[in-house]
């Protein structure tokens, strides 16, 4: 058995490396900004539970950018004896952390507000002396919240754009974290204004509604991250639908006249996909093994050129195909031994 084993020089195409640098810069800004918000909120905390929740949320939102930055350092490392596949998966691990942070944040907000409502907690907000002026602490809290929440809107939007270009799931989860951030912040602000009107339940109710949305986002992302670690069929970065690349590769492989049947199996390793292409060569192709080698290599190159995300594939000649693969031509799939094609797995979720 022979195989062709091409490897790309760069993990990302050159034009995307520029976007990646932008994303790294954006995440550094996020990190610095969130840290300053954490300090500011801590100083205005007072006895208020609502502010404490906002503070814990800000602490949690430090996690996705941190994970992203660590992963973006590790992902490009060359394969070593210890990590023979390189460290592309660092990005997937970062995605798990980012997704978990989102889910935990949603769960925390939900439980926190539910407890507040059940216990009928009446938050006390008094007066603070600032530069010789006596100010109702509520106004100061709102100012601190606006400071911590407003930029999240812009950072989140910018990240969403980059996540689309880079197909970056960590960035995508972080953008959703920013969205969750400003939503809870506006809930907290509405809550404080409500408290001022004597409506002690205002912020708990607002936060409860928003937490459902955050839990939903978090759950979706945790699920997607775990699927990635389980080597599930690659999905687009927003997890809405399967990545079309497997079908395209199957079509390309089966188009070759020297290929009787071919089947592709891909897994996600962070930004990139790796996997195997199994081909059953025709009898004529098998007669000349030197030429077969050339053909395998040439097929591997063609498949790599289809999409930048396909990073490292192995093309293997086999006697029969025993892996399930979506998008195989009808006749090929029918004959596939053990190629249990699970119809529930194809198409969008």
């Amino acid at each position: 058995m022979t195989d062709a084993h091409p490897l790309r020089e760069f993990e990302l195409p050159r034009e995307l490396e520029e976007q990646q640098r932008k994303a790294v810069r954006l995440e550094w800004i996020t990190l610095a900004y969130m840290l300053s918000a954490v300090v500011l909120l801590f100083l205005t905390l007072g006895q208020s539970q609502a502010m404490k929740a906002a503070w814990i949320e800000d602490l949690l939102s430090l996690l996705p950018p941190t994970a992203f930055l660590i992963a973006s350092r590790l992902r490009k490392r060359d394969p070593s004896e210890k990590f023979p596949w390189g460290l592309h998966r660092a990005v997937t691990v970062a995605y798990v952390f980012a997704a978990l942070a989102l889910l935990v944040m949603g769960g925390f907000v939900f439980i926190d507000s539910a407890i507040k409502l059940v216990r009928a907690e009446h938050p006390p907000i008094g007066v603070i002396e600032l530069f010789g002026e006596q100010i109702w602490l509520g106004w100061l809290m709102i100012a601190a919240l606006v400071y911590s929440g407003l930029p999240a809107v812009f950072l989140g939007r910018a990240k969403l754009r980059l996540a689309d270009d880079l197909h970056d799931k960590v960035l995508y989860a972080d953008a959703q974290m920013n969205k969750a951030d400003w939503m809870t912040v506006s809930a907290a602000i509405v809550g404080i204004i409500g408290i001022g009107f004597g409506l002690w339940w205002a912020d708990a109710v607002a936060a409860l509604f928003i937490s459902v949305d955050i839990v939903h986002d978090g759950w979706k992302n945790v699920r997607a991250a775990v699927h990635d670690l389980m080597d599930a069929r690659p999905r687009r970065h927003d997890a809405r639908e399967y990545h079309p690349i497997v079908e395209r590769m199957n079509a390309t492989a089966n188009e070759c006249d020297w290929v009787e049947r071919g089947a592709v199996r891909l897994r996600e390793e962070g930004h990139v996909f790796t996997g195997e292409v199994m081909v059953v060569p025709t009898k004529e192709a098998l007669s000349d093994s030197a030429e077969l080698l050339d053909r395998l290599e040439e097929l591997a190159d063609r498949l790599l050129d289809l999409e930048w995300k396909v990073y490292d594939i192995v093309v293997v000649p086999v006697r029969e195909i025993d892996i399930p693969s979506p998008g195989l031509p009808e006749d090929a799939r029918a004959e596939t031994a053990g190629g249990r094609h699970d119809s529930s797995l194809s198409g969008s979720q």
């Binding site: 006895q47 009446h122 938050p123 008094g126 204004i193 408290i195 001022g196 009107f197 004597g198």
Partner: protein
């Protein structure tokens, strides 16, 4: 975004028009020109009781002035701290005076005002004599069975002399509250044993009442100090 900007605007307009923040249970509106129920627990020199009536104390005097400010009549409710906190939770007591500090365990059950005065426990010594930094071997008087007695033992090498009446040893080194120094003819030696930030407590969430009380207290820092020196006199 625009929606909550609008909410802020509405709130700002509301503030211009009427009371803000407001009380969920309307404490301030009820107390103004009415009756303020003040819970008291003996705590020298903050609250001094004789039977069920307070006879003096810095917090009692402040509460009287605050009531005058509100045009309210005071109804005193004596009780233990726990009794008063429970009563406040149910809205049966509007204000608690018990020499509370920010370190109090009732932090989560009642709303504390911002600290209105800070006191320190220090080792006081006659200004004209000098002592070693840690008062090694020096007899230092301290009131028997107080927190200061323990702290003096831990933090200094002084020979601890527990007494029941500090005034009898005026002019000799003693561990005392800073507001007593002048009366005992002592100066702060710079050795601090403890400090406390004093607060009063109201029902949780009664923010209009809380804010009114805090504004009253914050405007009177010097007055409170003088009051403390007078009420604390041994």
């Amino acid at each position: 975004m625009t929606r909550f900007a609008l909410a802020v605007l509405i709130a700002a307009l509301a503030v211009a028009g009427c009371q803000y923040p407001r009380d969920p249970d309307g404490t301030l509106n009820r107390v103004e020109g009415g009756v303020m129920r003040v819970g008291v627990t003996e705590s020298d020199p903050w609250v001094l009781l004789e039977g069920d009536e307070p006879t003096g104390g810095a917090e009692v005097e402040l509460a009287r002035r605050f009531a005058r400010d509100l045009g309210a009549r005071i109804e005193w409710v004596p009780g233990s701290e726990e009794e008063l906190v429970d009563a406040a939770k149910e809205g049966q007591v509007d204000l608690i005076l018990a020499g509370l500090t920010t370190k109090s365990r009732w932090k989560k059950d009642v709303a504390f005002t911002r600290p209105y005065v800070e006191t320190r426990s220090v080792v006081g010594a006659p200004a004209d004599r000098s002592y070693p930094d840690d008062f090694a071997g020096v007899p230092v008087a301290v009131e028997l069975g107080t927190e200061e007695e323990g702290l003096l033992e831990q933090r200094t090498d002084a020979r601890v002399v527990p007494v029941t009446d500090l005034a009898s040893r005026a002019g000799e080194p003693a561990a005392v509250h800073d507001y007593l120094l002048d009366d005992l003819r002592l100066a702060d030696s710079g050795t601090e044993l403890d400090s406390a930030e004093h607060v009063m407590a109201v029902k949780l969430g009664e923010n209009a009442f809380l804010v009114r009380l805090e504004r009253f207290l914050l405007d009177r820092e010097d007055e409170i100090r003088r009051l403390l020196v007078r009420e604390g006199r041994p």
